[in-house]
Symmetry: C2
C-alpha cells in the first residue's frame, strides 16, 4: 500500500522538495530534472492520494502551488530518516538539506524508542513479528 503511493523514482524526491518549501511546478522540475509530464502525473497522483494539496494562485488558466497535507507532513519522519541515512553513507560534503526544529533551528534527530524500557533502541536490538493478519501485504 504505502509503496504503491510513494514507491517510484520520483515521489519521495518531490515530497522532499515540497517539505523544503518548493511550491511551484517549474521550480520542482528544474530542481529535480524530472520530465514535465511525469511531474504533472506524480503531483496529480499525490493529490489524489491526499498527500499533496493544490492551491491555485491564478485562475485562467489554473495555476497551482503545491503544499503537503497533514498526511504528507506525516511522512516527515520517514524523510528525515532517509536523508540521514544518505548523509551517513553517501556524504560527500555538507548534506544538501537539513531539517530543523522551527523553534530553535537545531538539526533534528530520529530516534527509535521503546515505550516499555523508555530508552533509545539501536538497530541491532530490533526484532520483528508478524501482525495478526494471515496474508502478507505491502504496507511498507
Amino acid at each position: 500500500m504505502t509503496l504503491s503511493v510513494i514507491g517510484d523514482r520520483w515521489s519521495l524526491l518531490i515530497l522532499r522538495d515540497l517539505f523544503r518549501g518548493v511550491r511551484r511546478f517549474e521550480e520542482l522540475r528544474k530542481d529535480l530534472g524530472i520530465a514535465k509530464n511525469i511531474l504533472s502525473d506524480r503531483l496529480n497522483k499525490l493529490h489524489q492520494a491526499g498527500i499533496v494539496e493544490q492551491q491555485p494562485y491564478q485562475v485562467k488558466p489554473i495555476r497551482n502551488e503545491y503544499f503537503l497535507t497533514h498526511k504528507g507532513r506525516d511522512l516527515s519522519p520517514s524523510l528525515i530518516a532517509l536523508m540521514h541515512w544518505g548523509d551517513r553513507w553517501y556524504a560527500d560534503g555538507d548534506p544538501p538539506t537539513i531539517l530543523t526544529h522551527s523553534l530553535c533551528d537545531t538539526a533534528l534527530e530520529q530516534i527509535t524508542h521503546c515505550p516499555t524500557c523508555n530508552e533509545h533502541v539501536n538497530t541491532d536490538q530490533i526484532s520483528s513479528r508478524p501482525g495478526r493478519r494471515h496474508h502478507l501485504s505491502k504496507s511498507a
Copy 2:
C-alpha cells in the same frame, strides 16, 4: 543518491522482508509477488551497494541466503517510519509487521527529537534549511 539505490518499486519491499527475517530467494519472490529476474537483479544491486550480504548455504550450484549488512540495518529507522505511516493512513486491521525491541518485545516508536530543546518535535514544528553546498542533489 539515496533514491538511486532504493528508489524503485521493489527495493524497499525487499529490504523490509530481509529486515523481517526472510532469507531465501523463493520466499522473497512468493511473499512479494515479484518477477524472478527483477528480484535477482535487485538483490545483486543491493549487494553491490553494500546493503545486502550474500551467504552461500550450498555450493554447486551456488545458493545464497540474504542478510542485511550494517548499512542495510541502518535503514531500519526509515523502514519503521514508513511502516508506521502506512499503518496510520492505510490501516485496515492489524499491521502486517510489527517491529519490536528484542529485549522486551514491545512495539517500537519513532520519535523526532531536538537535541537542543531535548524534547519531542511534532511535524508542524519542522523547518528546513539548505546545507552549504550550492547545487541541489538527490541525497534523499
